[in-house]
């Protein structure tokens, strides 16, 4: 909003620093925000990993008392919440931020300050969700928090309050971020970049963003109702007043199943980029992959009650949701065949990203098959709440989402850091992860079918579960070691000088046409796109035998002279102005949330904290609305 700037206090002038810590607080650059998202998500990933290893230590031997039962409940609850909401989702968003503007040939996202707000709200939401650890116990009622055990009668501690406020805050972040990407992808594509020329990763970012803006409001309402039950004494899930705890299950899973696709679609998009690059072939059946993704996005709304087959919804409901659930396996299968078709006959190059992408396919197939096995209600009745379910979700979310995301990290790390990760350590990381993953989660299938319930604190040796629990825990430690190798590789690489060429993998999409790391304005000249995999077509043409032949004047690994990158004259390129207000607004929101969460334990202090937070929030939003458009000349 262009208002007169002369009368504004000094503080309201836009910051101008591009160096130091403050430059990260006030940044609106999509690449820096992507790095912030990624780094925060990896830290939360380590936290969730420590929680997982503690769980596996407790379960390694029968009758163990490594942690107390109460702490154990908090560990498995927070492990799930951390991995889902604070690791996998933000890692996906990190790649949206880093890669999508480059793939569509844009200089930034549509709303750079809103983008910064999304990140800061995410960070404060993550802190809120974990704040229970400090204030007398984190949430310990399972990540899907079934009523009525989450009402204040059965869960009086502040843990569930932080669950409610933390997830509400994260929801604000997700919706703000997803709205931004919907507009960015629909409205900021370079000339010629039609929808059917968009890279598959960008497509999946679009589908995921639509799922986020539609699914998050549902969990928001469920959380508000639960919060009102806890704070105001309403009756939403209070069966003594006629309330129905099953409503919570429905609202949670109406959100929860689209959420599953929110977690996996970004990874599917990454794999759809990595496989063609390292096979030197275009993606097999591009339209099928895109439309399968869209179909999954729509169908994902019609399957939620398969999480509730044992509730007793009735034969008609169970049969209906069984059929829709089996149906949604079809587009997923279509994608898998297309990935295999991409590999077929390609000149395969097994660099680390490719290993993780191929690992993704193998492990995701196993997870998908076990998923189909509980699409059938009678079969599900045997598996519900057993370790078989734990095995399934870890094959799809660890073997699937995390492997896909690691493929993305190894693939795009050179682009944004300007440095090549060590291949040897990368392969060691992959080997430990692939091995550890199967050893840790494979045995859970038979533990589950043998009747071991999930979330159980300990077990008796007479149950006969000792051996496979021991094996599973050892596999988990292998995953821990693999993660250490990854950290070592990353830290060591970041201390090296820049060595990455613009196009280290002989890539196909626009992000490889500009230097590594990209300049702040990305493209000096906005590219004109003439084909799907446009950058590949600039480098190669088709020979008489149908094989790719390098274009004579350039060829592979040419220095990126495209889009005027050689020129140093960047005058006239509009860079969005830095801003304090996203951080301030997010800080206010997070503080207000903390104040509300503390109402039950320390009501006066809670009210004060909430009031301060709301004031800061109001100040941030007001300052934002009247912030001058750019640095004053």
């Amino acid at each position: 909003m262009a208002t007169a700037t002369g009368a504004l206090p000094r503080f309201l002038h836009r910051p101008t620093t591009y160096n130091g810590i403050w430059s990260w607080v006030v940044t609106v650059d999509h690449k820096r925000i992507g790095v912030l998202y990624g780094a925060s998500a990896l830290i939360f990933f380590l936290l969730g990993g420590v929680e997982a290893l503690t769980i596996r230590t407790q379960l390694m031997r029968p009758g163990s008392t490594a942690v107390s039962p109460d702490v154990f409940s908090q560990l498995f609850t927070m492990h799930a919440l951390t991995m889902i909401f604070l690791a996998i989702m933000p890692l996906g968003v990190a790649f949206f931020n880093l890669v999508v503007p480059l793939q569509i040939g844009a200089r930034d996202v549509a709303f750079p300050r809103l983008n910064a707000l999304s990140y800061w709200v995410f960070l404060f939401g993550g802190v809120l969700l974990n704040a229970g650890w400090v204030f007398g116990g984190a949430a310990g009622d399972g990540w899907f928090a079934y009523a009525p055990i989450t009402t204040s009668t059965f869960s009086p501690g502040p843990g569930m309050n932080f669950y409610v406020l933390g997830l509400l805050t994260l929801g604000v972040s997700s919706v703000a971020g997803a709205l931004n990407f919907v507009v960015t992808i629909l409205n900021m594509r370079a000339p010629g970049m039609t929808l059917m020329r968009m890279p598959v990763f960008t497509w999946m970012a679009l589908v995921t963003s639509f799922l986020l803006i539609t699914a998050m409001p549902v969990i928001t309402i469920a959380l508000i109702e639960l919060g009102f039950d806890r704070f105001l004494g309403t009756n939403f899930f209070n069966s003594a007043a006629g309330g129905d705890p099953i409503l919570w299950q429905h609202l949670f899973w109406v959100f929860g199943h689209p959420e599953v696709y929110i977690l996996i679609l970004p990874a599917m998009g990454i794999v759809s980029e990595v496989l063609p690059t390292f096979s030197k072939k275009p993606l097999f059946g591009y339209p099928f992959v895109v439309f399968s993704g869209l179909f999954i996005g729509v169908m994902g709304w019609g399957v939620w009650s398969h999480h509730m087959f044992t509730v007793g919804l009735g034969a008609v409901a169970n049969a209906t949701f069984a059929i829709t659930t089996m149906l949604i396996a079809v587009p997923t299968g279509v994608k898998i065949f297309n990935w295999l078709g991409t590999l077929w006959g390609g000149s395969l190059e097994f660099k680390t990203p490719m290993l993780f992408a191929v690992g993704f396919i193998a492990l995701f197939i196993i997870g998908g098959l076990s998923g189909v096995s509980h699409a059938s209600p009678p079969s599900d009745a045997q598996q519900q709440d057993t370790y078989y379910i734990v095995a399934h979700i870890h094959y799809v979310l660890f073997g699937g989402a995390i492997f896909g995301l690691f493929a993305g990290i190894y693939y795009w790390f050179p682009k944004f850091s300007g440095r090549m990760l060590n291949e040897g350590l990368g392969k060691l990381h992959f080997a430990l992860m692939f091995f550890g993953m199967n050893v840790a989660f494979g045995p859970m299938h038979w533990l589950g079918l043998d009747g071991m319930p999930r979330r159980i604190y300990t077990y008796d040796t007479a149950m006969g579960w000792d051996f496979w629990n021991l094996v599973s825990s050892l596999g988990a430690y292998a995953l821990g070691i693999g993660t250490l190798v990854f950290i070592w590789n990353t830290v060591a690489t970041l201390r090296k000088p820049h060595d990455a060429p613009a196009d280290p993998w002989d890539g196909r999409t626009l992000e490889w046409a500009i230097p590594s790391p990209p300049p702040i304005y990305n493209f000096r000249e906005i590219p004109h796109v003439h084909a799907r995999d446009d950058f590949w077509h600039q480098k190669y043409t088709e020979g008489a035998d149908g094989r790719a032949v390098p274009v004579p004047r350039g060829g592979a690994h040419q220095p990126a002279a495209q889009y005027g990158q050689g020129h140093e004259d960047t005058h006239g390129i509009h860079i969005p102005g830095l801003s304090y207000f996203p951080f301030i607004t997010a800080l206010g929101l997070g503080t207000a949330g903390a104040g509300i969460a503390l109402q039950q334990t320390a009501s006066l202090a809670g009210v004060i904290v909430m009031a301060v937070g709301l004031l800061v929030l109001f100040f941030g939003a007001y300052g934002w609305a009247f912030e001058p458009a750019g640095p004053e000349e």
Binding site: T214, V218, H250, V254, W301, S305, L313
Partner: protein, 100 residues
């Protein structure tokens, strides 16, 4: 495809037309209240749904300009409405609201 009519925002209605829409909206509201007091029995619910959907549609099409604007806006809004309605109907079926 966007036709020229859709891109020309000048095609917006005149204030007189806006006022005419308001009169229609007011009349429908009157009819709604009238139907309620007339006592039409089992027909009440379907009549009310049709009448309120008409009001909803008039505001969305004319005051929110969806009738004249780009189709993408309609797609985003109608998509949200359809998804909401589908979930609502599914939940009401699951809770046996329709066949109790």
């Amino acid at each position: 495809m966007a036709t020229t009519a859709q891109r020309h925002e000048q095609a917006h209605p005149t204030p007189a037309k806006y006022a005419a829409i308001a009169v229609i909206l007011a009349l429908i509201t009157l009819v709604e209240v009238g139907v309620v007091y007339a006592g039409v029995g089992g027909l009440l619910l379907p009549i009310l749904i049709v009448l309120s959907a008409t009001k909803f549609g008039l505001v969305a099409m004319f005051y929110m300009h969806l009738k004249f604007d780009h189709r993408l806006f309609s797609a985003l809004f109608v998509g949200g409405i359809l998804l909401t309605t589908a979930i609502l109907i599914a939940l009401m079926s699951l809770f046996r609201v329709f066949f109790s």
